[in-house]
């Protein structure tokens, strides 16, 4: 049998919107019989905590569509144009935007980050926590979910050097 394709991902961002791509790609690749490793570094590291508290910020993110996940269809399909400067001044705007995005995803049948992470584990995706980032931010192994590995840049590069797909997310 041919050698399986390999994919090496770096997950470096911890906001709700950026938490999705590594888990979606990793689970899909594993479902396509690829061997997958995700290296979680910097702000991606909290995605390995048991409860993922990822939020999304519309601030400084003017391309983010804002719409209501409830109410009549015409309202749901309307993109609310709220100037970035207004959002910056509104307390609680981030948690509101996060709630709306989660609701929107749920309405459209998109799995939660935790569900996708569990599915990744089920299909054999290997997850590696960046030891250096853990030391810098004060995380310990007991803080994270079980079944992950701990390593540094050289370990990731060793795998990535022979991978068919390498993505920095």
């Amino acid at each position: 049998m041919a050698e399986p394709k390999k994919m090496a991902l770096i997950a470096s961002k911890g906001t709700l919107d950026w938490a999705y791509p590594p888990f979606i790609l990793a689970s899909a690749a594993a479902a396509m019989d690829m061997e997958v490793k995700i290296f979680f570094t910097f702000y991606g590291l909290p995605l390995l905590l048991p409860k993922i508290e990822a939020q999304v910020s519309p601030l400084g993110n003017p391309a983010m569509p804002m719409s209501m996940p409830f109410g009549p269809e015409w309202l749901q399909n309307m993109n609310l144009k709220i100037p970035n400067a207004l959002m910056a001044g509104a307390p609680g705007f981030e948690s509101m935007a996060t709630t709306l995005m989660k609701k929107q995803f749920k309405n459209k049948g998109v799995a939660t980050i935790e569900e996708l992470r569990d599915l990744c584990m089920d299909v054999g995706v290997e997850m590696i926590a960046c030891q250096m980032t853990m030391d810098v931010f004060g995380f310990e192994k007991k803080d994270f979910i079980e079944g992950i590995e701990y390593a540094g840049a050289a370990n990731f590069l060793d795998f990535a050097a022979d991978a068919d797909i390498q993505l920095f997310i």
Binding site: A28, M32, M34, V110, V123
Partner: protein, 78 residues
């Protein structure tokens, strides 16, 4: 050609990418070679994703159907 003998059905209606292919993969793994899985989903992206998944994994899609908003795939376990 409605003579396919379906061994298992999988309902992925309402689920977004990548859940239909993940659930298909899990179902196929638990089945035996030659058996046929009927997977139904509403994700229109599956029209491209399922053939890609099939060609990568080697589990052939014997037949594809569309019924209203449902996309139906008959996958044979390799």
């Amino acid at each position: 050609m409605n003579d396919l003998k379906i061994d298992q059905e999988l309902d992925c209606r309402g689920l977004g990418c990548p859940l239909p292919i993940l659930k298909t993969k899990k179902a196929v793994m638990a089945m035996e070679s030659g058996q046929i899985l009927k997977m139904t989903c509403t994700d229109s992206g599956s029209q491209k994703d399922m053939p890609s998944w099939s060609s990568r994994t080697g589990h052939p899609i014997l037949k594809t159907e569309e019924e209203g908003s449902d996309f139906i795939y008959y996958v044979q376990v390799k």
